[in-house]
């Protein structure tokens, strides 16, 4: 490749167009000059770039960087946007705080706002135990079903959220499943029998040799006070319904025996002091509309 820097005849014979005078292996570069303002725009952009570097954070230093004239920062920009968003939402947030729970569910606009707020708050606070969609896990109730340990009306849910279950709140919901086996209240055979009986209440198949008669007697003497004579449970004290298809810890016999032996007592935190009233309302509405109330 040879570059002939100055060709004495810079007009291309074939096209009549000027060449740049450069030649590569016999090929000459035609010259199509750019307008001069194009060049000035390049200079202007360079000037602009320097201005930009002065106005905005730009040059990395050893342990910091140049901050720019106005001290702009991405972090502050986000904070400002969040503040603007909060301000924009304020009317709805206030309306939510002012309305009663039933009013919220009746007003489509408030309802959808509360559900959206509630969903976000649920993800932040409740999902670690109850699952992202409130689907629950062993020992953590599924909030989508229609089985409520402590009743599932809007007010009940709101009260549970505010005061918690077996929490430090003086108004917390409290109920106690004793450790019948561990505390020696029942003998192992009695525990086994009453476990079989309890399982049979919800229609689960039990061993043919199971002593349901003893089980029924033990149940009547020890369990009926809280779970009711028919085993339907009492929501005021959080005693579960034993006749339905939902078992918080599992329905196999070993799990039921374990529960009777050691007792049960899950804890739900009291959110009263930690979340504001509006958020608790939104959460109550959200949980209520997960479907547990039957729609």
């Amino acid at each position: 490749m040879s570059i002939a820097p100055h060709d004495p005849s810079p007009i291309d014979a074939h096209t009549g167009t000027a060449t740049t005078g450069h030649e590569w292996d016999g090929i000459r570069e035609l010259n199509t000059p750019l307008p001069r303002w194009w060049l000035y725009m390049l200079y202007a952009s360079i000037v602009w770039a320097f201005g930009y570097m002065i106005v905005y954070p730009a040059v990395p230093l050893v342990s910091s960087y140049t901050k720019g004239l106005f001290g702009w920062s991405a972090r502050r920009a986000v904070a400002e946007e969040l503040a603007a968003l909060t301000a924009q939402r304020a009317p709805m947030v206030n309306a939510l705080a002012a309305a009663s729970l039933t009013e919220i569910e009746k007003d489509p606009k408030l309802l959808s706002f509360a559900r959206a707020q509630g969903k976000a708050a649920f993800g932040d606070n409740c999902a670690p135990c109850h699952g992202a969609g409130g689907g629950g896990a062993k020992a953590f109730p599924n909030l989508n079903d229609d089985d409520w340990l402590w009743a599932g009306t809007l007010e009940d849910i709101s009260a549970t959220l505010t005061h918690g279950i077996r929490s430090a709140d003086p108004q917390a919901r409290v109920g106690n499943m004793p450790a019948f086996g561990a505390d020696g209240l029942l003998k192992p055979a009695e525990v086994s029998a009453v476990a079989d009986y309890a399982r049979s209440l919800s229609g689960l198949a039990v061993d043919a040799k199971a002593d349901l008669k003893t089980g029924a007697k033990v149940f009547e003497e020890n369990c009926a006070a809280c779970h009711g004579p028919e085993g339907k449970g009492i929501q005021e004290i959080g005693a579960p319904n034993l006749t339905d298809q939902i078992w918080l810890y599992g329905s196999d016999k070993a799990t039921v025996v374990e529960g009777i032996n050691k007792g049960r007592g899950g804890v739900m935190p009291n959110w009263g002091g930690r979340l504001d009233a509006g958020t608790i309302k939104a959460l109550a509405v959200y949980v209520h509309t997960l479907g547990g109330s039957g729609g």
């Binding site: 000059p33 001069r36 409130g134 689907g135 629950g136 089985d147 339905d244 939902i246 479907g291 729609g295």
Partner: protein
């Protein structure tokens, strides 16, 4: 002096040892006025397109009480686009894709038939530049006068004229920007608010931006936009073929050129002489400063004004018109070789292809627009939990649905599951409908999100029977009054 001549001059300077002309300074162009067929067509199109642009926002279109009454409106706040009887929602933005395809294909088709029709007659850059030239001519006179004034420099008269010219340009530019913002809000209200200084700041800012751009591009940049900035000339040059009509100097007939006297003498002595009298009229009328006799070139926007200029000259010297004309490359070559030219071939594979694409895309758009529903439903199955076991053992699935009501009245919809007999269907915020299905009310021109619960009986024990796993099901959304029904497929999860 044409741009090429100017370049040649600079190159010659360089050869003489001057600094290299990698950048050229602008040659200011003073196009001369011209009369003729293409000038008339250009006037007509100018009036038509500018008229549409300025008047369209004020045309009213009744859509009922809950929708704007402006025929063409881009409602950014509510995410709607209105075009007469058509209303487009954001999720229907694919119509925009369709429009863009149509626009590109129309451009290609125009090009395959008659070259840069878009550039020469329709492009806003051309139309506004043409208008600005007309104003300039009106105030400062025609080519010769303007050139003389430019040479003379500032006098009281030229200064006053320049002042008036720029003021007139700015007024036109201001109206251009003003009309633009009217497409984004109720035009009469906005005009009133703008005039009483109550308009939104955004509107003033956009008017300012567009005023400046119009003034700058049509008053100063002019043909440089086409020559240096616009991509279309490059694409066009790659797309054209020898069968496309283009503004062409018929050199087979014109060359060798020479003055009337000189060519008459040539003919008398028996040598060949062309019809071009070398009067330079085609060059002086050209708004881009091109010499069309150098052949097709990127700077030529094919406005046809040199045809008018040349035809006028040919008539004057008593020769047939059409020395410069819309002609095809192949015909010029055929005539040069002494063969008869071909008839214009509009129907060629590429024109047929472009037309077919326009037909198909346009047809699909028209069909979907005509048959699209005024309501819509989209369904999303809950991911967590996939299903819920209820206390009686039955299984319930939950779905988030979104219903769209595209009419301007509130409507009541019944949510049905027709194919996978549920024991119960419920929806949040719903009332019980006449047929037992939940009924949701959606406001005018709105969407509504709700949660729907579908319950199925307790599955029979044991694996492997039909009750397990995943089942298809279809949601139907029926308008209680009109019966219009839209469907969405989803599934039901069993343990």
């Amino acid at each position: 002096m044409s741009v090429k001549q100017q370049q040649a001059k600079e190159v010659a300077l360089e050869a003489a040892g001057a600094e290299g002309p990698l950048y050229s300074s602008r040659t200011k162009i003073y196009p001369q006025s011209v009369h003729g067929k293409f000038r008339r067509i250009k006037w007509a199109i100018l009036i038509l397109t500018l008229g549409i642009y300025y008047i369209l926002p004020f045309i009213r279109w009744d859509r009922g009480p809950n929708a704007p009454a402006q025929a063409v409106l881009v409602d950014l706040e509510h995410h709607r686009f209105y075009f007469f009887f058509i209303e487009i929602w954001p999720q229907e933005v694919y119509y925009l894709t369709g429009l863009l395809i149509l626009a590109a294909m129309a451009l290609f088709l125009m090009n395959a038939v008659a070259g840069r029709v878009w550039c020469g007659y329709l492009c806003p850059q051309t139309v506004w530049t043409d208008l600005f030239y007309a104003v300039e001519r009106l105030i400062e006179g025609d080519r010769r006068e303007r050139m003389q004034k430019a040479q003379k420099g500032w006098t009281l008269e030229t200064f006053a004229q320049a002042l008036i010219k720029h003021w007139a340009w700015l007024m036109i530019a201001w109206w251009t920007g003003g009309a633009w913002v009217l497409y984004f809000a109720d035009a009469p209200t906005l005009v009133y608010n703008l005039a009483t200084f109550q308009g939104p700041a955004m509107a003033y800012i956009w008017i300012a931006i567009l005023t400046f751009m119009t003034y700058f591009f049509a008053g100063f940049m002019r043909e440089q936009v086409c020559t240096y900035m616009c991509p279309w000339p490059r694409i066009q040059a790659a797309l054209t073929d020898e069968y496309a009509l283009n503004v062409t100097y018929r050199y087979d007939r014109g060359e060798p050129r020479g003055s009337v006297k000189k060519n008459a003498a040539l003919l008398a002595s028996g040598s060949p002489a062309g019809d071009c009298v070398d009067c330079n009229q085609c060059v002086v009328v050209c708004p881009t400063g091109v010499d069309i006799r150098e052949g097709l070139q990127i700077d030529c926007i094919q406005c046809g004004l040199c045809i008018d200029a040349c035809d006028n000259v040919m008539t004057k010297v008593g020769k047939p018109t059409g020395l410069i004309a819309y002609d095809t490359d192949i015909n010029v070559k055929l005539r040069e070789a002494g063969k008869p030219p071909l008839a214009a071939r509009i129907l060629r594979p590429r024109t047929i292809l472009y037309a077919a694409i326009i037909g198909v895309v346009g047809g699909i758009m028209a069909f979907t627009l005509a048959t699209r529903m005024d309501s819509g439903i989209s369904v999303m199955h809950d991911r967590n939990p996939l299903f819920t076991r209820l206390s009686d053992g039955s299984i319930r699935n939950a779905y988030t649905i979104r219903i769209a009501n595209k009419q301007t009245d509130p409507r009541r919809f019944e949510v049905r599951v027709d194919d996978y007999e549920p024991t119960q269907v419920e929806a949040i915020g719903a009332e019980k409908g006449p047929n037992g299905w939940p009924v949701l009310t959606v406001g005018p021109d709105q969407t509504l999100e709700s949660r729907v619960f579908v319950t199925r009986p307790r599955p029979a024990a044991g694996k492997g029977n039909d009750d397990h796993d995943r089942h298809d099901l279809t949601f139907s959304l029926g308008d209680l009054v009109t019966g219009e029904t839209v469907k969405a497929k989803d599934h039901f999860m069993m343990p």
